[in-house]
């Protein structure tokens, strides 16, 4: 074979040595990187169950918990702001995801039909909003004019459709062979029957993907709420977290109400912060390894295909 002629034996041995060296280096580097990715989380986790007085004397990474103590978590679960924030977030996530999902699926089906005259034009106008927008101030004014400021709708409605998800879903519908729809039509099926009973089972992986995207997006979102909501009763979890973790001049309402219960409030401040990080991140961190495959397919469809 030509490879033998081109590559002398010594050369191959040398290259296989450098290859081995590289493989070892690669394993070492990736191990180090993987540790770096989780180290801050481990620090937060172990700190959150440590003795608060000990914790306040620590300035390095906490790599082992010290004097197991769950007071931080007790304070978090007894904090009315956090509990209310969590319940609000549940409402926002559920409402916005369900609404967004139904509209996205139905619309993506229609927009994927090639026999409709205006679909291309509509799709163009929708895609344009991905690269140009009015900006935050005009959006704020519009919400004001619609009377949506300081209502739950202000958090649910403006974010419930994502163009990116619409495109993922549309691409999925486009890949289904038209024969399936045609035969269902011959049996007298209407549009909604076709969408939800005939086609949706075939594109359920994409539907699951965009559902996950919507859930994460709404769970994490804070900016719109901070723009459109003044009433603390309506604050989602992330806004309460922002007060505790970032604004936190020790006398914001949220962080105080958590600490009033304890005599030595200052000592517990740091502990509560760490506990709240763990509690608020746990749902996502526990679930994500099991739904990774949906993200992988979603990223592929979404970014590679448009």
């Amino acid at each position: 074979m030509s490879s033998i002629a081109i590559t002398p034996k010594e050369n191959r041995i040398k290259s296989s040595f450098s290859r081995k060296a590289f493989v070892v280096f690669n394993y070492a580097l990736l191990t180090a990187l993987a540790i770096a990715f989780i180290l801050p989380v481990i620090h937060v986790l172990f700190s959150s169950i440590s003795d608060p007085y000990w914790l306040n004397t620590q300035s390095g990474l906490v790599l082992l918990p010290h004097g197991i103590n769950f007071t931080g978590y007790k304070l978090v679960f007894n904090n009315s702001d956090l509990v209310r924030g969590f319940l609000n977030t549940m409402i926002y996530v559920t409402a916005a995801t369900v609404l967004g999902l139904v509209v996205t699926i139905v619309s993506a089906y229609v927009l994927s039909r090639k026999d409709m005259l205006f679909v291309d034009a509509i799709m163009m106008l929708i895609s344009f909003t991905m690269i140009f927008g009015g900006g935050i101030v005009p959006s704020y004014i519009i919400m004001q004019k619609l009377g949506l400021l300081n209502t739950r709708w202000a958090v649910i409605l403006p974010a419930c459709i994502s163009t990116y998800n619409l495109i993922i879903m549309r691409t999925a519908f486009q890949t289904v062979p038209p024969a399936l729809e045609e035969s269902a039509r011959l049996d007298g099926a209407g549009d909604l029957t076709v969408i939800f009973q005939v086609l949706l089972p075939l594109v359920k992986a994409s539907a699951a993907t965009i559902a996950l995207y919507y859930i994460i997006q709404h769970w994490n979102s804070w900016f719109q709420a901070s723009m459109y909501l003044q009433n603390r009763e309506l604050f989602p979890l992330q806004l309460v977290l922002r007060e505790i973790l970032i604004v936190n001049d020790s006398n914001t309402a949220a962080s105080m109400s958590a600490l009033d219960a304890v005599s030595d409030a200052n000592a517990y401040k740091q502990l509560v912060k760490y506990a709240v990080i763990i509690v608020s991140s746990a749902p996502m961190l526990v679930v994500y390894p099991f739904v990774m495959k949906y993200f992988e397919s979603g990223v592929m469809v979404g970014a590679v295909k448009g």
């Binding site: 030509s2 300035s59 927008g133 101030v137 004014i141 519009i142 505790i244």
Partner: protein
Amino acid sequence: MAIARASFTTRQETGKAVKSARPARERKYTKEAIRKDLKRNWKRYLLIVPLILFYVVFAYMPMGGILMAFSDYKPKFGIFGSLIKRFVGLENFTDFFGSFYFWRLMKNTILLNGWSLLISFPLTIILALLINDIGNKYFKKTVQTLSYLPYFISMVVVCGIVVDFCKTTGVLGTLMTMLTGKSQNLLGVASYWRTIYISSDLWQGLGFGTILYIAALSGVDKQQYEAAKIDGAGHWQQLIHVTLPGISQTIIIMLILRVGMLMASSYEKTILMYNSQIYDTADIIASYVYRKGLMDGDYSYSTAVGLFNSVINLVLIMTTNKLSRKYTETSLF
């Protein structure tokens, strides 16, 4: 410009995007065709009314609100009323261009996003290549899963962790005290801002950013590697001649997306973490718009500044797309 209609159909088969032919447009919208279409498809059009309403109300009406930029908006006159009664032409724009803030904001916006792009874009690809090179599939899966973890922590919490680490007694604050002898909150030092911002971005997004490239890498034709081996190509040569060309389409599309977002990158994180001590390096156009518009209530002026930002952004994405289509035959739209 239909992003969605374009190109990206046959990734699995060839790893290459195929451009769809654009249908001849001239005679598409005849009266007869419209009548027939509406008669046949009106039910389906009815189904997308909610979607259309959504885009009209939450995307196109704010675009109409841009008119505020050319007036001295007063709520009692409304957007159109203000435009007629209090029209100021380009005054808001010239005010901005002439202000002390203009160059500082331009510099900060470009430097933050430019550095971020220069650092994170190649690093993501390199990390994907390194992960792809791992033979042991359990090790590979573990590294992947762990590297995705930070992505699933919310932005507010990530910023909360950064604030905690950077404070004087925090993990990084203490480390810097040992190194420099100065005890200070790192988020109060203007010259550290970009490093902190970009590092936290890398921590959160680097791992997850590799997903796409790893998917693309798995689509590279195995036979090409075999062929290259037979021709005597070493691993390095295989990387240059097989792997990189195999994912070049993906790289270019991601690059267009990134460059297109150069001016529009996440101001949310800036707003969460910055403070008046470090405006010198941290304040970017978008955060300035937020402050001027929503905190100070200077609606018209901030709309003008925001419009300036959006237009630059639009020009950037169109230009990159055009250049890419010209030189590489890959484009988004």
